[in-house]
Each structure stands twice: as C-alpha cells, then as structure tokens.
Amino acid sequence: MHIIQIILLLFVAFAILKTVGRAVKRDVTRAQLVFWCLVWIAIAAAAIFPQWTVILANRLGVGRGSDLVLYAAVALLLYIVFRLTVRIERMDRAITKVVRHDALERDDKK
C-alpha cells in the first residue's frame, strides 16, 4: 500500500468520525449522515482499489481514473459552494430583518 493511500484512509476515517459525531449532536440530519458516509466510503474505495476508478472512467469515456475522481470532486465542490452561498444569503436576509426591527424599535422608544 502506498503512503498516499494510507493518508487518504486516515482522512476518511477522521471524516466519518466527525460526521457521526455531528449526527449524534443533531447538527446534521440522518439523510445528510448517510450521504456523507457514502461519499467518504466511495473515496476510501477509490483509494484502496484505484483500478475500479479506471474501469468506471473507461465506461464513462474519461481517460484516467484519477481524472474521473477529479471531475467528480470539482462537481461536488461546486454544488457545495452553491448550497453554502444560498444558505449564507438566507442568513444575511434574516440578519437584516433583525437589524431592521431593532432600528425601527429604537426609533419607537425615542
């Protein structure tokens, strides 16, 4: 086993532990727990059996297995960034409502 595989497996173990910990504290929903565990297990599988990614890549018409992993990672990251952006904007608007309420309230008390 190569060093990179060991590093990846250690990282996956750490990530799964953190995800489960978050789920226990109810910071993430059960559906999110399942999704993230599947993602980490897929990464672990790709680290242990890199030839699987080659087979899958060839089926999909991508040259190398590592390229497929990279494309999938970029797509996933973009989606996560999008979700986070929308969530931040929602929070922003909620904060604005609180700030507005406070501004109008303070004026009422004058």
Partner: protein
C-alpha cells in the same frame, strides 16, 4: 401631501449633512406639495452601521436618523427607511443618495411627476434630456418648474445635466441596461439610478429583498410583476466619485442569480 426623503448612508459623515441641508433649503415646496403640511418634507437618514459619525452629521443637519447596528447594504437601508416612512403616514417616498451627487431640486420635480402624470413611480434617469426650455427655466427658481422630457430623448447625450465618466457611459451603462432588461423585462433609459419616487400605494406594494446593490433591479422587476405605472424623469447627477464599477456590476449579477434560489 407628506413627502419623505429616504437616504441610506454608510460612512458619509463628510457629505450627508450638506445633502440633508440642501433638501431642507428647498423650503416648502411649491403647490401642490405644501397642502396642509406643517412640516414640509421630512428627511430620514438610515445610518447603515457607519463608523465615522454619519448619524451625528445627519441629525445635526435636521434629519431623522435610524441606525442599523451593523452594515446591511443600501437595499436593506432603503427598505428600512421606506417601512418607517410608511409607518409615519408618508404619501410620497423619495429615494435619494447621501453622497451629494443628486440634485435636491429634482425631489419636488419628481413629486410633481407623480401627481401630474398620474403614475405611481418615477425613476430618475441620467440619460433623458430636459428640453432646452425646461433647462433654461431650471435655474435659479427651478423648484417648481414643469419639465418636459425631450420626445426624442437622446440617450447618452445628457451633458447639460450629468458629466458621466466616459467608461461608465459608453461601456458599463449599456451593459447594465441590458442586464437590467434581461432580469426584469423592462427596457429603461438608465440602469441602477438610485433616484426614485413612490406614491404610498406603490411603496406599500414593493418590498426590497436584495440587501445590497441588486435592489435596483429588484425594484424594477417588482414594478413589472405588479403592473405598477411608472415614468422616467431626467435628473441631474454630479459625479464626485465613480460609484459602481465593473466589479460591482458582477456582484450585482451574482446576487440576482443567487436570489432566484431563495
């Protein structure tokens, strides 16, 4: 008629006082604005979390000041001020900039537009031209002039009113107008002009959702969605700063796109 001027301000201590004083210097507007109104125009400045004494400067100049505890953006400030003005019983609400770039004399003109043209919203335009007759009558006793928009409003040739930086006029504004049209379906002569006047009925219908600079497109989109009558009116803008650049425009588009998913 109770006219409220809503001015969002962020770190504008050096300019907001003069802006407010210029509005009060108009005194009682000419008829029909002074009908039964003892107070004349009311000015409300929304201090958007400034750190430079903007609130004190505005208050000293005679404005009512509402304070955002933290900076929330121009759109958020306009909505706060508009909500407050409606609470206070405003018949007409004018959005105005704090940085002294707009001409206070355009406020009574906009209110007259609302009344005389029977529309619910007047949008300021840097690109429409006053007719030469109106422009000639504009100074010095121009507060109550009846302006005439040139029938062939010559886009981009409003030199008498505004000295728009060339890159802004010939590059950014045409793109901004196109983007505005793409998002709203309304083709305006100007884009992202912060000067606008609302009747009470219109102000009650429009709720600004975008906290930052995309509020302008947001307002135009709501005008179309709700079928509110509007007219554009030529206004004077003196540039003492460049304002929205290309980066700002990109942020606006990004905000608008994110807004679709909320």
């Amino acid at each position: 008629m109770r006219v409220f001027v809503v001015i969002p301000a962020y770190n504008e201590a050096s300019r907001v006082g003069d802006t407010v004083r210029a509005i009060f210097a108009l005194g009682q507007f000419s008829p029909p604005l002074q009908v039964g109104d003892q107070e004349g125009v009311r000015v409300v400045v929304i201090d958007d979390g400034s750190e430079d004494g903007t609130a004190d400067a505005a208050q000293f100049a005679g404005a009512t000041v509402l304070r955002h505890a933290v900076n929330r953006g121009q759109g958020a400030s306009l909505q706060t001020g508009t909500a407050w003005a409606l609470e206070q019983g405003a018949d007409c609400i004018v959005h105005f900039d704090a940085d002294g770039q707009f001409d206070a004399a355009d406020i009574p003109r906009a209110v007259r537009h609302l009344n005389e043209r029977g529309v619910d919203i007047v949008l300021g335009s840097r690109m429409l031209q006053l007719s030469s007759r109106a422009e000639a009558r504009r100074e010095p006793e121009s507060r109550d002039l009846t302006d005439e928009i040139s029938p062939l409003a010559s886009l981009g040739r409003n030199d008498a009113l505004c000295h728009i930086p060339a890159t802004k006029r010939y590059m950014l504004l045409p793109i901004a107008r196109l983007v505005n049209w793409a998002f709203t379906g309304v083709w305006l002569t100007d884009a992202h002009n912060g000067f606008r006047a609302f009747s009470r009925r219109a102000a009650e219908q429009i709720v600004i959702h975008h906290d930052r600079m995309a509020h302008n497109t947001d307002i135009v989109a709501q005008i179309r969605e709700r079928g509110i009558s509007f007219a554009e009116m030529p206004i004077r803008v003196r540039y003492n700063r460049y304002g929205q650049g290309l980066g700002g425009g990109v942020k606006i588009v990004a905000d608008l796109l994110v807004g679709w998913f909320l």
